[in-house]
């Protein structure tokens, strides 16, 4: 029975998961704060000039994004491992130690970003201050530290999976996390050639967010469906293998859509376009899968005589988490799939490359594909650690979910309009020059889009505050069925 999986008490692996989730939530807050600073700077250019310039705010915003998501992903694995394998995670004490090492390293890296910011053009800077490459600015010493921590995590996963029950979900995660970890190595070198630099940089970023991370989401969604609505393992695991085939079948060669303009051969136009155009398809599958299974389980459990999962008529045993999982199904398809498809063909991308259109896609995709399901996992952990049978919505959970979702959609709309303007004015009309760039930035459509983006960012941040309050308080509320 799925409900017996929910007890978090007594499992060290689940306890470690809650540590990872807690740190992730804090870093998520930092991400939003630095995002607000950057958004304000687009509207008021002198804001914190010389103190916390846009470049530093942006670095902190995107690094915090990656860090909180990686922490939450690790937490998700530590959380589900005992349920899936039936045993306590092997080497969990080392896992716990590595958590503290990881967290401490992040704190040091962030402090250096904030207080030192830049360095001279030397290897020392690259090793100790910043590598200056998007998302992976972390200095080389931290890279090695991350490799050690990740190896420990992968070892925990592998030994537990091999000793305990190696379900389909665990098998997918084992393979996926090896790839996820190995890919990070592709970013750990310096080259004089900007083309070579960007070629390998994309191996990390694309094969993370458009391949291994998506497969991870598929695995977590499968676990969530089993846990929350009693979906049958064989069914969700079949879907999972289909999703893996489609995700890797499209995503691995879809990497080529980043090789249109960086100095690489022209054949990447066709390879990148054709495979990345297919990337939305598995997201449709994931979307259909979640909603279909929900409807099917509800129907089955309403029928009499079925040895159902339902408890007192509730199909879903964790309403807030399931809401976030369904939002993941929509958001993944919309943000990653649709917005991604808009600008994936080279004929379009030639004009949208390097504009706010990319930012529009990035924001909705990261939110829809990853933030949503990871917040869902936070709620699963709250339920498990408090031993609650049915976790219901509270006013706070409904408000926070709505504000965050509407805020993100609003931000995306604003950024899409800003990107559209840039394409028409700066690129098509003015030929991508310095003057053309600034002309594009100064028209009313663009500036008003930046205003609205900031307003919507504040909406998201407000929703986040409510989310944090809900996560801290809902576990003890009497509205739930204990």
């Amino acid at each position: 029975m799925a409900s017996s999986h929910l007890t978090g008490i007594g499992s060290e692996s689940k306890q470690l998961a809650t540590w990872y989730f807690t740190f992730a939530a804090i870093i998520f807050g930092a991400q939003l704060l630095f995002g607000l600073v950057a958004a304000i700077q687009f509207v008021m250019p002198g804001f914190l000039y010389g103190i916390l310039d846009f470049s530093i705010a942006r670095i902190l915003h995107v690094n915090a994004l990656v860090v909180w998501m990686v922490f939450a992903m690790f937490g998700s694995v530590y959380w589900l491992l005992p349920d899936e394998t039936g045993i306590e995670t092997i080497g969990i004490k080392i896992g716990k130690l590595l958590f503290w090492v990881f967290a401490a390293a992040i704190v040091v890296v962030v402090l250096v970003y904030l207080l030192v910011q830049v360095g001279p053009a030397s290897d020392t800077t690259i090793w100790f201050i910043t590598e200056g490459r998007e998302y992976i600015e972390a200095p080389r010493w931290a890279d090695y530290g991350i490799v050690v921590v990740v190896l420990g995590f992968v070892a925990n996963l592998f030994f537990t999976g091999m000793k305990g029950q190696q379900t389909g979900i665990v098998t997918v995660l084992m393979a996926d996390m090896i790839a996820f970890a190995g890919l990070y190595l592709a970013g750990m070198f310096f080259t004089d050639s900007i083309s070579m630099d960007q070629y390998w940089w994309w191996w990390v970023i694309h094969l993370w967010v458009e391949a291994t991370w998506e497969v991870f989401v598929g695995a977590i969604a499968a676990y969530g469906l089993i846990t929350m609505i009693g979906a049958h393992r064989k069914v969700v695991e079949m879907w999972l293998w289909i999703e893996v085939a489609m995700l890797f079948g499209s995503g691995i060669l879809g990497l080529g859509h980043h090789y249109f303009w960086i100095g690489t051969p022209e054949y990447w136009w066709e390879i990148g376009a054709l495979f990345s155009a297919l990337e939305p398809l598995p997201l449709v599958a994931m979307f259909v899968h979640v909603l279909y299974d929900w409807g099917k389980e509800t129907g089955l459990q309403m029928a009499e005589g079925y040895e159902g999962h339902a408890i007192d008529g509730h199909t879903v045993t964790n309403k807030p988490a399931f809401t976030w999982f369904v939002m993941n199904a929509f958001g993944n398809f919309l943000g990653a799939g649709v917005w991604g498809f808009f600008h994936t063909l080279p004929q379009v991308n030639l004009y949208t490359h390097g504009t706010q259109f990319t930012a529009a896609h990035g924001h909705l995709a990261f939110f829809g594909a990853y933030a949503t399901i990871l917040i869902g996992m936070f709620y699963l952990a709250i339920q498990g650690t408090n031993g609650i049978k049915i976790l219901r919505h509270t006013k706070l959970s409904i408000w926070s979910t709505s504000l965050i979702a509407l805020g993100m959609l609003g931000m995306t709309a604003a950024l899409t309009i800003a990107g559209y303007v840039q394409v028409i004015v700066s690129r098509a009309q003015l030929g991508a020059t310095w003057a053309g760039y600034f002309d594009g930035q100064s028209g009313p459509w663009f500036t008003q889009a930046m205003d609205w983006r900031l307003i919507m960012g504040v909406v998201v941040f407000t929703g986040f505050i409510l989310l944090v309050i809900d996560l801290l308080t809902t576990g003890k509320k009497s509205v739930h069925k204990i």
Binding site: A121, G168, A245, G263, W268, F438
Partner: protein, 223 residues
Amino acid sequence: MNKESTVANKSVWSDNRFWQRSATWVTGFASLLLIWLTFDSMGQIAMGNDADIQNGVTKRVPGPTVINRKITYEMSAARGHEIPVIGAKEMFFGRDDYSEEEAGALLHLGKLGQQAKNCMACHTLLGNGAYYAPDLTKAWLDPAWGPNGPLQAMTGKETKEEAMAEFLQHPNLYPTHARMMPDLGITAEEAKGLVAFLKHMSSIDTNGFPRNFGRMQGAVHGK
């Protein structure tokens, strides 16, 4: 109740093993094809050398001594888009005879500098980065830095490269927009390296990105 035992002829389409094996095959094939294409691309984007430039051998990523040369961006009828063209020798910071080692050292310093100062956290290089400041792919060829543009006069310099280097060392003294570039502590030597990096980057064959660079005036295709 075990559902499987009541099914006489289970379809392959609902069999997990079929999909697991298919997923393994598709992933393996896609990975191998990516690796093959990577080997091919690595050969194609390997940086050229001075001999290539001397002998007119076109490389997608020219060698560092391209800084000794004039670079333009011209339409190619065969390729259907603009391509960088490496021309005659041209002075760069007073010299047109940088050796491979000297030019390589300047490029190396510039690339390190570009990373050490987080340029991509405001600008885009080859279109990648942040969108707070202009794309720098063809900055070397930008009309604003040219003899008819405002920036040489603003920085009080007589050549493009000196104007760029001066700007980089004191960007807060030369505001071009309300959105100002901060002072990043760039030294004179680092500035020279960064300008060399920018000049080299403008010579990379980007399959025609950005389109129509510097050719449009208003909404009319001008010269």
